[in-house]
Amino acid sequence: MQYYDTGYLQFVFVVVLVFFLIFNIVRARKGKSLFIRRIAGLNAIDEAVGRSTEMGRPVLMVPGLSNLGPVGIQAVNIFSYITRKAAKFGTPIKMCLADAALFSVAQEIIRDVYQSEGVPDQFDPTSVRFISDRQFAFAAGVVGIILREKVAACFLMGDWYAESLILAESANEIGAIQVAASTITTQTPFLIAACDYVLIGDEFYAASAYLSREPVLVGSLVGQDWSKLLIAAIIIVLTVQTSIEKAFIPQTYQESQEGAGKVWTTKQIPPHLKKKAELFERRLFYPHDPEALNPKRQKLKLDPWDKDDSGG
């Protein structure tokens, strides 16, 4: 559907991004060492784990409401790194999840970590727990655990919604070190207010590469940078182009769809300042605008905010 709707642009766009990613992954696998800038929040992990080791209190890891998907698994990957550290010092861990499927993945990965560290018997199956898949029941449960177990370090990473602050503040109350990262941007400010270290936005995805220096991950991180630069470039170029077009190039023709075959015909009109729908960039992203001319496409019109995250 989209294909038809936005012409070949989106196809090309995504393919280019994918190419960037894969190209860099291959490059990194070839053993080209790549630089990653410092991410403060992640350097704090060792400190946090060390502290809880001294205090002999558990490390708590919560991926928020993330379900089985890229975000949730990324979170669990980061947690597996933390667990490895904890396993080295024999520090107890707790992981609370809100999604049954993700729970099973986490269970697996954490068990593997303990095995690969050579201390399989240290792994306590009940340390990775499913709490509830109801948002606030989950919050209530985790708060209970935080306050009762007096966790010393708290990692909140993943899809966080309104419950983020409940947990962050409770952990703060008992003086736990907190490192947080939310993929839901509307929650980041609250984490910033309540936690010691916060990974903002993209740093969450950079984390696993940063921690494990895994060539695959580092490579794809470089690819991600290239992609961002590409987006920036597109925006800059098109902004310049649009400005010029808007200011200096008047619209001199009108398009319309006619006949059974819906043929596009153009007719000359007195020149006027281009309307939004007549600008090149608009035609590039929405080839079938102006909407007025073909109501059929209206329902498929892409929407700037076409995703349903209820920030509540």
């Binding site: 995504v14 998907g69 740093e203 991600q224 940078d225 902004t239 400005s243 992203f285 076409d306």
Partner: protein, 257 residues
């Protein structure tokens, strides 16, 4: 028996329960009390029960069982839907996931999980442009004014629709500046999220530090707007306890009626 769900006494019982749990949960603000611990566990239990119920009544019954055994026609002359036996294959498939509890065969759990992951990943790739393409397009705003005659947008009160249309289509200096600020902000923040190059040039370091600063502006604004919702809910809760329950419904009960 003719007792209906909105019977006054029953409503009062429900409200009382509500008031009790409200105050009970709030005790955790002081410290983790026994009351809270009790309510917390009750809450978790209820939630689990609810999930189990909804699992069948809202997901499996229609989406799985209904399709597997088919439906009889509600009205005569209406097609009944055939059952598709293949849906039963989901049982063994899902069953594989439950091997995580066995040490020997736990690898099998990764097959159904893998399928699910594949699906979510695929969907993410599929929806990607639909979600973000428009945002890219939306960030492209002209920055050269088309009408230098005045700085700000003229007020539109009492103008003909045509005149208003021209004003809307024009780009005035103030708007151009705003758009420029928009662009600058966007680029600064974007530059903050470049990980794999350490910026040598002063300009770039400035840019990314500005980016971080600008981010904080955005976060501050979010903080402000969110507060209203949160306080609104708290106030509503208090209203429920003090006014609706304590001041209105309790006396009514005491008076008996």
């Amino acid at each position: 028996m003719a007792l209906s769900l909105d019977n006054a006494n029953y409503q009062f019982i429900k409200m009382t329960a509500g008031a009790i749990v409200t105050l009970g949960i709030y005790t955790v603000l002081y410290k983790e009390t026994k009351i809270y611990r009790f309510l917390e566990h009750m809450f978790l239990g209820l939630a689990a029960g609810l999930s189990l119920t909804l699992l069948w009544t809202q997901t499996l019954h229609d989406l799985w069982w209904g399709r597997m055994v088919g439906k009889t026609a509600d009205k005569p002359g209406e097609w009944s839907q055939n059952g598709a036996w293949a849906w039963v294959l989901l049982l063994p498939l899902a069953g594989m996931a439950y091997t995580i509890f066995s040490r020997k065969h736990n690898w099998m759990s990764r097959v159904p999980i893998g399928i699910l992951i594949g699906i979510t990943a695929g969907q993410a790739i599929q929806n990607w442009f639909n979600q973000y393409g428009p945002q890219v397009e939306n960030s492209i705003k002209p920055v050269i004014p088309t009408d230098w005659s005045r700085m700000t947008v003229p007020s539109k009160s009492g103008l003909t629709p045509e005149a208003i249309a021209t004003i809307d289509n024009n780009l005035y200096l103030s708007q151009a500046i705003n758009n420029l600020i928009f662009l600058a902000t966007l680029l600064c923040v974007l530059s903050y999220f470049i990980f794999c190059t350490d910026f040598k040039t002063k300009f770039m370091t400035r840019m990314s530090s500005t980016g971080r600063l600008v981010l904080m502006v955005g976060f501050g604004a979010i903080f402000g707007t969110t507060i209203m919702t949160r306080f609104g809910l708290l106030i509503d809760r208090m209203y429920f306890v003090w006014i609706e329950w304590l001041m209105e419904s309790l006396p009514r009960m005491v008076r008996g009626g």
